[in-house]
Symmetry: C2
């Protein structure tokens, strides 16, 4: 063995003596990365965009639990550079074609002292940013190893504005704070956020990624990661004085970070940068850094819209559970129903009828299976078996009814955090789905994780989520994961993994005081950078929807429509109740019309925390859909329609905030107008406080 | 709900005021248990055998992680007593019929203060001991809860002699120490036992159960547990001054002991007691305290003997692994074979041929599947997939060859401790076994457990082992679990769980300095009390079998034969190499003849640490097989053959130590003699130092 590896090493061109320690550079357009070993032999990198520094000289490195790691001194063995320019087509997405254009710099390093372990750092420089990762080559001196810490730094040149949530091991469901880096302190929010079931955020200066930054010199910078597989999620510790960010990895049950075996590699660390906020949203850097689809035949994977027996539970009208407690049994030992169970056959049929009537493809039903009386909060492993319905849910009858109506049922598999239990049962669960014709499953992980001691965002769970996607694919099932780790572009590699939650969705407006009016203007720059979110937009009854009567969704109705465009997802829920939609069927028409898969996307106007206007072209059709939203401030948004096909006339249906609309006082005031437009037309959208506008553009005869 | 439960409580006859606090007693024959609340309201019990105290007044109780537990003050709500006398038939076993005769005392307790949680303690008093457990009734005040500690004590009246191994969370593979309780200190042995892969024994005064004790007044006492399901293994902390033993439960990954939900119950704590050591071995108390079979149709469950491609790896002649390391790849990325791989098709056929020639039912093959280059020691999750053979192992060809020869293949599923990985794959693994006709699987858990932080003997793994037994049963597969938690009689409930290792088997003679000559005289009183062990007896080449030439098995050859009778198991390996057996085919005949399932068993002579003589009647045949062993001392063992059928003449074939036999100097000296005997005959067996004798008795024409 030793002989063979020695030959390999020679073949790779390892020099007898180390090369000079850089600097080595790679660039594309105005973006440039420079690698160097510092005086102590520690690897460092810096990033610039034109003349502006993005990341000052910052450390790279990994420490290991056993033996010497890669914190220096290291020597440079060599480097390679190559240029790549390809275009690929996603299975689903915001655009039809994605250009993958980068210059790659690979740096080969070795520990100066014995055992001389080798490490590669690979940089890819795109026109809109940089990705880099650590690669551990096959080598005698490094087989199995345990990552103690990752030393990656992002030394920011100034005290940027930041849009951040606390770095929590188990949740990404906080609302965003907009502050200077020097003001980051997550502790008060973590403590106060009792609406989030599990919160573990020991470092008050740690923030989650994607982290959105805005420099005073006009640069927008987004830091995240791509292809997070077999590795914990990256969080960032903020040194408030120096504005230096340092990697913090979510630990495992025994306090280390990752168990690895060379050859292997970490996820990519990503820095997207531009003078224009819209470029951040348009970036495909993270997708490009993910691997191509591992699923060969993807023809069965279908984006879709759906309604569901869900919001009625969120607002307390009905319950997930069937009985008041697991101990409420009759003399025969059967659960005694409360009469408030939402997932009963008759009610499900009502949703199927609504979906069929309005061309909505799917119906989700939560709370259909036994276990909800005692489902989370007790770190309990065997809550659900994923195949046993409550007595009032007739799976066979519902399946036949939906099929007859041309509607697809969406399964719900809540695990209450017991990932081990789900892995024991998911084959059976997907077989049940195949039997009853469910093409999609929404999973959930509310509660502390089992294996106990593991976290939602640690290495073990990152592998679990991939296992779920892979298992579901074997049964031709698409997946929507709630309470999963926030995405990092893995929908490219596992295209049946259509969406995740992993952020603060609309549901917080039901069971908590909700999210501020700027929330949806920040989400695309943060949570959505890694992939689609099942945000569950489309709430029409924006006040007085829950028992206290005190809560309200902090948007107008028109803004709820706009979200179907501004919040990209191949899986979009129309979240409100059928009876609430039936009060506003004219507005609902936009939800019925808007596609969930696209050929093209343009970000027309964007500023994190303030506003966003996005227009998208429907898949394989010359139809365009526009969404425009604002924060708590009213705004006039001019829109040039030069994206439309020249010479083609379109009927534009404009769903706008009505006279006097205001998220707080008058959220349901909207007006719908139609006009004919061309690519020469210019519209000015009037957005109310907390408001928005949605437009559909369909060709009319020439 | 509240109303209903209140009614339940009334119906159960809960009194308005507490009853007097005992004492309450139950007894059968000479065994008596007394329950009382002490002055502090803490529950206590004591056990006597005739006039001799077995356990002095000792605390009972459980503390909880949240809220008040059952450490007192408690009040007595009531009690019940009943007498039960049944007989049942095991699917396999040492006897055909088992009498389950006991007096049961159920004590209903409630916390004196709010929330007034209720606890039952149930005692069953048998003629040969006591079992008791805690039961948590369905109640409003106790739903989900976490056990912090179990307070059960065993206050022994004197400084008994003890046969003990350290209380280790991950292994039971230590050799036994014989000492007074006051001398228990496991630390030096734990430290020195580098031959055991994972050792976690933080309390040097903790010992494992079964714990075998001998009092100076002549009482033999065995402490263990029965039906350990959904609860960690019981260990005992020894107070060396007072001889008081206190329960220590193996912790989970987060440091607590068990996650439970009322209604539920703990395993039974068992105390077997007698003036005669042989009664301890004959006791069926532990089996009686287990639940009946959960498998309805058990016709497919077959005890069997087997040979295997195994000892040759243990002694270093061949390897489990195919290549020298996982990184030894050729230019095509394929593993480069070392040429030392044992599980190759040709070699497997050699074992099949041997088994077929000598009427051995099964052939085990270890190291047949990819992964062994890097299989343990790195806490690695995805080592094995359990279905991918090495290139030189042709599963199809071997399957067909074995079938043609009338031999059954035994699968090996080593998990390297990654129980999560096994649960992800075991369905596939058993499907593979069904496809290729394997009726049995030997599992292994070498290495630290995954879920990381869990232990082999904790609650999570206790549930895992049951899940494996249940899953295997769905595929009609019988199981032999190595490195599992030590058994507690669950083979009654899951009769496809034929055997476990969970103790120091013969293999330690291959890769370590082995076990002392008294080892097999202690094992039946300790490890075997809970259920069968795959001890792998039958080593014929007792010296010079491994490269150093320094090791030796510390028995004679005749003693190896006797172990097939003295170490009961429905699954018995003939562990040595075919070529070694072929040197002694006359002696091998006993292994070929000896059954693995029995109608009756008599313990003719027994003293832990010194000697044991057992005779058993073959299933459904008037044949008897006797095994007699001694420790390092030569011994003359008289045997009255009054167990034989009166009036019937038998040919007795006696496999005895030969002239000058001695485990150390001359272990392979044996002599085989035949004679005709009746139930009036008396034999005197001459056992050499470290020696033994085996006898088969078969009827001859009258």
């Amino acid at each position: 063995m030793e002989k063979y590896l020695f030959l390999l090493l020679l073949a790779a061109g390892a020099p007898a003596a180390a090369q000079p320690a850089g600097p080595l550079a790679a660039s594309l357009g105005s973006v440039k990365v420079v690698f160097a070993l510092n005086a102590a032999g520690q690897p460092t990198y810096s990033v610039a965009c034109g003349q502006k520094p993005v990341v000052n000289a910052s450390r790279l490195g990994i420490t290991l639990a056993d033996g010497p790691g890669f914190d220096g001194p290291l020597v440079l063995l060599g480097s390679e550079r190559k240029d790549v320019d390809n275009t690929w087509q996603p299975v689903w997405g915001e655009v039809k074609n994605i250009r993958d254009h980068y210059q790659q710099l690979t740096v080969h390093l070795r520990q100066l002292a014995a055992p001389g372990r080798r490490l590669d750092v690979v940089f890819r420089v795109f026109a809109d940013g940089v990705g880099f990762r650590y690669e551990f080559p096959r080598q005698l001196a490094l087989g199995n190893f345990v990552v103690r810490d990752e030393l990656t730094e992002f030394a920011l040149p100034a005290d940027h504005q930041a849009f951040w949530i606390p770095g929590d091991y188990d949740t990404n469901e906080y609302y965003y704070t907009h502050s200077r880096l020097s003001a980051v302190d997550g502790a008060p929010q973590v403590k106060a956020s009792t609406e989030i079931a599990v919160r573990v955020a020991p470092d008050p200066q740690a923030v989650a990624t994607p982290l959105m930054l805005k420099a005073d010199d006009g640069l927008y910078v987004n830091i995240h990661e791509a292809a997070q597989v077999n590795y914990p999620a990256l969080q960032l510790h903020v040194d408030r004085a120096s504005h230096r960010l340092t990697a913090r990895l979510v630990p495992n049950a025994v306090g280390s970070k990752a168990f690895l075996h060379a050859p292997c590699r970490t996820p990519w660390r990503t820095i997207i940068v531009s003078d224009r906020a819209s470029d951040i949203l348009a970036s495909k850097l993270i997708l490009n850094l993910n691997e191509p689809s591992k699923i060969a035949d993807t023809g069965w994977i279908k984006p879709m819209k759906f309604v569901g027996v869900w919001w009625e539970m969120q607002i307390g009208r009905t319950d997930w559970k069937y009985a008041s407690s697991a101990d409420t049994l009759d003399a025969r030992g059967q659960l005694i129903p409360t009469g408030r169970h939402g997932a009963n056959t008759a009610n499900v049929k009502r949703y199927i009828d609504f979906a069929a009537r309005h061309g909505i493809a799917g119906v989700l039903v939560e709370g259909w299976n036994v276990g909800w009386e005692d489902w989370f909060g007790n770190w309990k492993e065997n809550v659900f078996d994923f195949v046993t319905p409550y007595p009032d849910f007739n799976a066979q009858e519902i399946s036949q009814y939906a099929k007859a109506k041309g509607v697809q049922m969406i399964m719900h598999n809540e695990t209450s955090g017991a990932a081990t239990n789900y892995e024991q049962h998911f084959d059976t669960a997907y077989q049940f789905m195949n039997k009853y014709g469910y093409p999609a499953v929404k999973t959930g992980y509310v509660g502390r994780i089992i294996p106990r001691g593991e976290h939602h965002d640690g290495q073990w769970m990152s592998n679990h989520f991939v296992r779920v996607a892979e298992a579901a694919a074997r049964y031709r099932v698409v997946v929507d994961m709630h309470e999963a780790v926030r995405p990092t572009g893995l929908g490219r590699t596992y295209p049946n993994w259509l969406a995740s939650e992993a952020g603060r969705g609309n549901e917080y407006n039901a069971f908590s005081t909700g999210s501020p009016p700027d929330h949806e203007t920040i989400m695309p720059f943060t949570r959505l950078m890694g992939g689609p979110m099942d945000y569950t937009p489309g709430i029409f009854k924006l006040k007085n929807y829950e028992p206290t009567g005190k809560r309200q969704v902090r948007t107008t109705l028109a803004k709820q429509l706009a979200l179907y465009v501004t919040m990209y997802s191949p899986l979009q829920m129309a979240a409100d109740l059928p009876e609430n939609y039936e009060q506003h069927l004219d507005a609902f028409q936009f939800i019925a019309d808007v596609p969930v898969d696209w050929d093209d996307t343009r970000i027309l106007a964007a500023e994190p925390g303030d506003y966003l206007t996005t227009v998208r072209k429907a898949k394989d059709k010359d139809e365009w859909y526009l969404g425009s939203i604002t924060d708590e401030n009213a705004r006039q948004q001019p829109v040039k329609l030069d994206f439309l096909t020249p010479g083609q006339r379109y009927e534009a249906i404009l769903y706008a905030d009505g006279e006097g609309a205001d998220w707080q006082k008058n959220p349901t005031a909207y007006q719908i107008t139609k006009r004919v437009v061309t690519n020469k037309s210019v519209l000015t959208l009037k957005l109310a406080p907390g408001g928005g506008a949605a437009i559909s553009f369909r060709p009319v005869g020439k």
